[in-house]
């Protein structure tokens, strides 16, 4: 697969025009556009024999559905309700609740919230005996989130699910040394050091 220059990829995405490319990239851009235009978008034509065989099979299947397929096949379901049927239904539901338990006693579904993101933190610290993560998400507790050694020597990792928003953090190496994440932006922590920043 051809790996185009990032600016040429932006051209293909429509983010820049050919005229906006630097002169040395215009030839590559034109070539990329030519390749894009050359993609054959014509519908695929089947031979008459293949089409007849496929359509025959489809018709046979539609004409004689099996019992299992009739039971399991998804189909449109029409429900109709009338107001005067609501009262007995509510009474029945109340009776069921009284008989089998209080509403809300069932465990809450642990569906993932769209307002969270799972983040993997990585630090290369080959001399470290232990590494932890402390930040606004764990009350800066240096013992709360230890990193574990990964398969690669010297590489420590931790994976956390964090709420959307802005978080500040640092790695704590061997329980004493606060180290900002070299892969993340940093801000002044107000104490003469830097905190790493994560925005989700």
């Amino acid at each position: 697969m051809t790996d185009f220059h990032p600016l040429v990829k932006q051209l293909l995405d429509g983010e820049v025009t050919l005229a906006q490319l630097p002169p040395e990239l215009r030839a590559e851009g034109e070539e990329a556009l030519r390749l894009l235009e050359a993609v054959n978008r014509d519908p695929v034509a089947l031979t008459a024999a293949v089409e007849a065989r496929v359509m025959g099979a489809v018709r046979r299947r539609a004409a004689a559905p099996s019992l299992w397929r009739r039971l399991t096949e998804p189909r449109e379901l029409h429900l109709r309700w009338r107001p005067w049927t609501l009262a007995p239904a509510l009474a029945a539901a109340a009776a069921l609740v009284l008989l089998f338990g209080r509403p809300g006693s069932a465990p809450t579904a642990l569906a993932p919230s769209p307002a969270t993101a799972t983040v993997r933190f990585v630090l290369f610290a080959p001399q470290a005996q232990q590494v932890a993560l402390a930040g606004t998400f764990n009350q800066w507790d240096a013992a709360a989130t230890p990193l574990v050694p990964s398969g690669t020597p010297g590489v420590w990792t931790a994976t956390l699910t964090l709420p959307a928003g802005q978080h500040q953090y640092a790695f704590v190496v061997d329980g004493a040394r606060w180290v900002p994440d070299p892969a993340a932006p940093t801000v002044d922590d107000g104490f003469g050091r830097r905190n790493s920043v994560l925005t989700l």
């Binding site: 606004t136 009350q139 802005q166 932006p185 104490f191």
Partner: protein, 225 residues
Amino acid sequence: MTLRLLAGLLVIAATPLGAQGDVAARLAGRVSPEVAALVRQLAVDAAARGLPVDPLVQKAIEGGAKGVPADRVASAVRGVAGQLDAAAGALREGGMTPPDTEAIAAGAFALNAGLRGQDVADLARRSGDTYGVAATLRVAGTLAALGVPAAEIVALISETIRAGRRPADLLALPGRVQAEMARGATPAQAAAGLARAAAARGNPNPPHPSPDPPGQSRPKNPHHP
């Protein structure tokens, strides 16, 4: 009417006490009693002025966890209180009345990262409901933390919003700037290139391109306008 008035007075009277109790519980065992007392007082003042309390508590806890002397923790917490005040003022100037606590906290973060009050006001004015002021300011602060100059931050975010990009695209801007930096661009060049790309996408008839290719313009020298 009398009942409503009474209820209102009860809420006003109870809020600082509740905030004090909550702050005291969060700080217990984490900071010195002097720092805890200062943060409690600052928290009550902040709550009364509609400012968020959590950043104050977080800064105190952070100082305690890092083993910072009490006087420096107190100074840092006062600094955060000042930034929250400044952010609230900038947001009001940007038309957000009254500013919500989430936006104020995000504004204080942006100021700490290097933006000016005027930038915060500008961004608040431009972000609108689609993107959310807090999210916009968090992105702006993160870009500043990456080393992008304020003018380029405002331009990049403004062009992204003007081009009608999705909120997720706004959140992705720091990552895209980092990717360009990994390819050798300076933070300013990366942001300027992305801003031009957003402008070109938002405008079907882009103006004549600048002599510099996207992402490769030279940063302006602020000392020689």
